[in-house]
Symmetry: C2
Subunit: 296 residues, 2 copies
C-alpha cells in the first residue's frame, strides 16, 4: 500500500471547459512548483484564486502534451507526490459506484487496491487508516479519510461540478437523493441480505465492518423478496422516466445500475429479465463509455 | 386530509436576513395577488426575480404585523391556498428529523398529520399520493411528491441555505453526508431491527412500506448489538469533535439525536447512559430552541 506524503496534484482531468488538454487540479495550488521538476512549465501554466474549480494548472495542448502529462502524472504517483488516495476493490459494488462517478467526471485519482478476498480491509495497517474496515475510502490531502460511497461522490461533485451528476437546483437534487436512497435502502440492502447470509464465505461476517455478526438464514428469503419488490418498482419508474431520477443520467442511475449488476452476481437472478423498461435502461447505461471503462 | 390546489405562499419564514418581520416565500411568486384578498399589501411588498431565495414577499414589521401575518397564513391554509404540504407524524423518527431541520431554518410548512397508529399511511387516499406508504413526504407546488427525509431536507437546504446545515464546500458536505449515512445505516437500521421484529404490533410488517414482511426473531438480538456498536462509535467521535460531523451543528447531529431518542423508546436503553461524550452532546442538542420546538 502506498503511503501518503505531502504533495501536489491530487486530481487530474483530461480535457475540460478551460482547455482541451489534460489538467491537474489541486486545491492547495502547489502543483506548479512541484511539477517543474518533471516537466518544464508552459507559458499558460497559471493558478487563479477563486472558486475551487479555478485552482487549475493548465497543461498546454501542443502535440504530445497529453501523453507527456500522463507520464508526469505517473511519475508523481511513483514518487509518492500525489497525496489523495482512493481505496478500491473492483469486484465490490460500493467502490464501483465511485469509479463510475469519477469516470463520468473524467477524473483520475491515485488508487490503492485493497483486496477484500484476502481480508486486507482487516489488516492493522488499513484499520489504522479506515477503522470502519469498509470500501471505498478516500484519503484527502490533509489526512482526512472519507468513507461511504455517497459522501465520496458528493466531495467530487462539489470540486468538479461538470458534468452535473447530483441534480441542479432544489428539486433535482432532492429527486436524485430520493432515488439513490430508495435504491440503497430497498434494493441494495435486500441484495446484501441474500448475499451475506447465504454463503459459507461470510460466516460470522454477515454485516460489513470490523465486528462479527452471525448469519441469519431467514434473511436470505426476505432479501430475495425485497430484491423483487425493488426492481419491480424501478421498472415501473423507468416506464415513466428515461433515467432513474431525472430525464438525464445522474448518480441515481449509477447506484441502481451497480446494484442491478450486484444482484446478478449475489442473488443469482438478472433483474432485467422480464422487465422491459429496466432492460432498455440497463443497455443504455452499459453503453456509456465511462461505465464501460469503470466496470470492465 | 387537505387536498392541494394551485396556490400562493408555500413556505413562511419568521424574520430573516432581509427583514425582521415574517415573510412568505413562493417560487412561483403569485402570493402578492392572492394575499390582497386577505390583507392589504404594504408599501414594501415586492417580488424580485433572481435566485429562489429572492422571491420574497416581505411583510411590514409595524406593530402587530406578525400576528396579522400569521392569521393571514392560517387563512391561506384554511382556504386551501397553500399548495406545499408536509406529511408528518410526530412520534415517528424520520419526520422528526425534517421537523427539526425546518425549525432550525425557521421555516413553517403547511402540515398534514398521517396517523401511523391508525394505519392512515395504508389508506387508498394516501397511497395514491405516496405509494411507498412512508413518512415523511413532501408534496411540491407542481404535484411532485418527495419521500425520504434526507431528500426532503436537501430540498429545503437548497431553497433556504441559511443557516447552513449540510456543510459548505466539498469536504464539509462530504463529512456531513458520511456521518449521516453511518448513523442511518449502522444506528437507525439496528434500532429498527429491534423495534419492528420484537413487537406484536409489527407482526407481518417488519419493514416499513406497503409490502408485508414477517418478523425475524434473531434480528432483535442482532439489532441490540448494532445499536451498542454504533453509539460507542458516536461516543468516540464526540470525544474528538463537539458535534457529529463538523465543529458546528449540522444535519448529522439532527439524525444522530433523533436516533438516540428513538433508541430510548424502541430499544428500551438510553444510549447516553455511561457514555460521557454522548451525554454532553445530547444535552447541548436538546437545549437548542428549534429542537425543543420540533420535538415537544
Amino acid at each position: 500500500m502506498k503511503i501518503r506524503s505531502a504533495a501536489p496534484c491530487s486530481v487530474w482531468v483530461r480535457g475540460g471547459r478551460h482547455g482541451s488538454g489534460p489538467r491537474c487540479t489541486n486545491s492547495s495550488c502547489k502543483c506548479v512548483a512541484r511539477s517543474s521538476g518533471y516537466w518544464p512549465l508552459a507559458r499558460n501554466n497559471s493558478c487563479a484564486a477563486g472558486s475551487l474549480g479555478a485552482y487549475n494548472h493548465v497543461v498546454p495542448t501542443r502535440g504530445d502534451a497529453e501523453a507527456r502529462s500522463i507520464i508526469f502524472f505517473e511519475q508523481c504517483v511513483a514518487e509518492r507526490l500525489v497525496s489523495m488516495q482512493f481505496y478500491d476493490f473492483r469486484l465490490a459494488p460500493s467502490p464501483t459506484k465511485v469509479r463510475i462517478f469519477l469516470a463520468e467526471k473524467n477524473l483520475e485519482i491515485p488508487t490503492v487496491i485493497v483486496n477484500l478476498r484476502k481480508f486486507e480491509q482487516q489488516s492493522a495497517e488499513f484499520l489504522a487508516k479506515v477503522p470502519s474496515a469498509t470500501l471505498p475510502a478516500l484519503e484527502l490531502d490533509d489526512g482526512t479519510v472519507l468513507v461511504e460511497s455517497h459522501a465520496i461522490c458528493r466531495y467530487f461533485e462539489e470540486l468538479h461540478p461538470e458534468p452535473n451528476l447530483m441534480g441542479e437546483g432544489a428539486k433535482e437534487q432532492a429527486l436524485v437523493l430520493m432515488w439513490h436512497d430508495m435504491a440503497t435502502l430497498e434494493g441494495y440492502l435486500g441484495i446484501q441480505e441474500v448475499y451475506r447470509n447465504g454463503q459459507e464465505y461470510f460466516k460470522g461476517r454477515a454485516l460489513a465492518g470490523p465486528q462479527g455478526y452471525e448469519q441469519i438464514e431467514a434473511l436470505v428469503d426476505r432479501g430475495r423478496k425485497r430484491v423483487e419488490v425493488f426492481f419491480d418498482k424501478l421498472d415501473r419508474r423507468l416506464g415513466e422516466s428515461p433515467y432513474v431520477a431525472l430525464d438525464r443520467f445522474t448518480y441515481a442511475d449509477i447506484a441502481a445500475y451497480v446494484y442491478q449488476g450486484f444482484a446478478k452476481r449475489a442473488v443469482g437472478t438478472d433483474p432485467a429479465g422480464g422487465r422491459d423498461n429496466l432492460t432498455r435502461w440497463s443497455e443504455m447505461i452499459a453503453a456509456r463509455p465511462a461505465v464501460n471503462t469503470a466496470t470492465s
